[in-house]
Symmetry: C2
Subunit: 263 residues, 2 copies
DNA sequence: CGTTCGATTGAGGAAGATCAATTAATGTGG
DNA sequence: CCACATTAATTGATCTTCCTCAATCGAACG
């Protein structure tokens, strides 16, 4: 028998709990430190236990399509993949961006078919794992089950962060936050966080963030003017970020000053 | 050895695939039919295999808080729960809404602590399951593991739908879509879809949808004027939906006419 | 019966979308 | 290799949507 301290307790006690919230933030930072090794370890674990089928993809290749019958989960060993949903009227909406170590296709488990398209944005290597085989292997290797659950959990956390960004941030900050998340994702994988190669057009970024391509362009120009980012010469898709913390500060400032939405 | 037909195929072939997309829509409808029994069955399965600790909650009770150490997953047997994230500056942002049969706390698995608050919005019964005990039980009962994975998968799908709604729909349609989703969730649980008791203020709805309370109020008034919904007398929190399909149509129309965002 | 909280509705203003023109980069055929 | 076509990005000028501010109304509560 175990205790359930939170359940059936008295109604919200905001004053007492505010202080403890700050720890959640620092814990979050810790997680991304831990993951730096975890990503590689999980990939190794997969190789050892499942010998996944490896496939090479190029920009524009579809890894799976919405409506395809579900059978496999995919793990990105390298490259960049966007997750795209088709609106009923045929328009596209990007709903996710995947990096090395990320899993793809979780949305197919419950519906027995994928809910989105997964499109490669760059040359990369994708590993395919049959879901039924994975479950069998999880029985033998508990660490594999842990890795699977953590991957799903991380998707859920990340999606919520994205939703919050879209709901609360003004255009400038939304773009800044997008760049910051991207850089942080690179950092969590042991890569440099001061340089991003955007493998997408302004229109695609805007689509992801719920903005027009002009708004994205203006936001990027403003961020460049303020020195938060700079473009490496010849081509505006290579972004240099001199100070990641400063970029995070830009996002925070927008939160405090702008958009109140509740109350 | 198995085939990977999608991988390393030629770049996107939009024209050929458009037709097959429609089937994804009808499949989606099928899923919600199936779930009508699935929700109850899964709950029974949990009772049989784990004897979860049951707790009663009232409106305002916290089931867990952001930052609390992760230990349990929670399953909602009845009632209504909102998932709330705290912004770094102390403001709240609602990022999810949970109904009977929904699981809570998945975001805690990867971070070892919950990332959000879960707050009851109504009297209800919440079952708590220790995550470690659940994993052990999953070893004995494969159906339990399936149920767990489907629950996580559904959260991922649903979150993406929410993101898409926020990114693509204008205020009116966003509110209409919110009501439609709610009614559909009720339908998937065998309840009537023509009546919703909103257990939240306009401010809370607006917070969830990225709108102000005034915009929500205006949208509801407009929907009522156009006959898409009506308020049952005395109190504007009981919404009657005469025709759910018509409401879906309202959302679709907004998609086609309005906001292009990409291209 | 007055107070409080939530909802509605209107008027003005600001953020961002739309439209349009220009510039920059990439690709193509001669 | 260069003129030309094509696509992406930038920037400016309007216009629309939705936010903000404010007043009013209704319902619930003590």
């Amino acid at each position: 028998m175990f205790a359930l301290p939170q359940i059936a307790s008295s109604p919200a006690v905001p004053s007492a709990s505010r202080a403890s919230r700050a720890s959640a933030e620092s814990a979050e930072r810790l997680v991304s430190q831990v993951r730096r090794e975890a990503v590689a370890e999980t990939l190794q674990l997969l190789v050892r236990t499942l010998a996944p089928r490896k496939g090479l993809v190029h920009a524009g290749d579809m890894i799976y399509r919405a409506g395809d019958p579900f059978g496999c989960l995919y793990i990105l060993n390298s490259g960049l993949v966007k997750i795209v949903k088709l609106t009923p009227d045929g328009r596209e909406q990007m709903v996710g961006l995947k990096f090395r170590g990320d899993w793809l296709g979780f949305d197919g488990i419950a519906r027995a078919g994928y809910g989105c398209d997964a499109v490669a944005m760059d040359t990369g290597e994708v590993w395919a794992v049959r879901y039924d085989a994975l479950l069998v292997a999880c029985g033998r290797h508990p660490a594999l089950l842990t890795a699977l659950h953590e991957a799903m959990s991380r998707v859920i956390s990340r999606d919520r962060d994205t939703l919050m960004s879209v709901c609360t941030l003004p255009a400038d900050a939304r773009v800044a936050n997008f760049l910051h998340d991207w850089a942080q994702s690179l950092g969590a994988r042991g890569l440099r966080t001061d340089h991003i190669t955007l493998r997408m057009t302004r229109a695609e970024i805007g689509n992801y963030l719920g903005l027009t391509l002009e708004s994205v362009s203006r936001a990027l120009s403003k961020l460049a003017r303020e020195g938060m980012i700079s473009f490496v010469e010849k081509g505006r898709r290579e972004v240099h970020i001199p100070d990641l913390e400063a970029l995070a500060g830009f996002v925070q400032r927008a939160l405090c000053v702008e958009r109140v939405v509740l109350q």
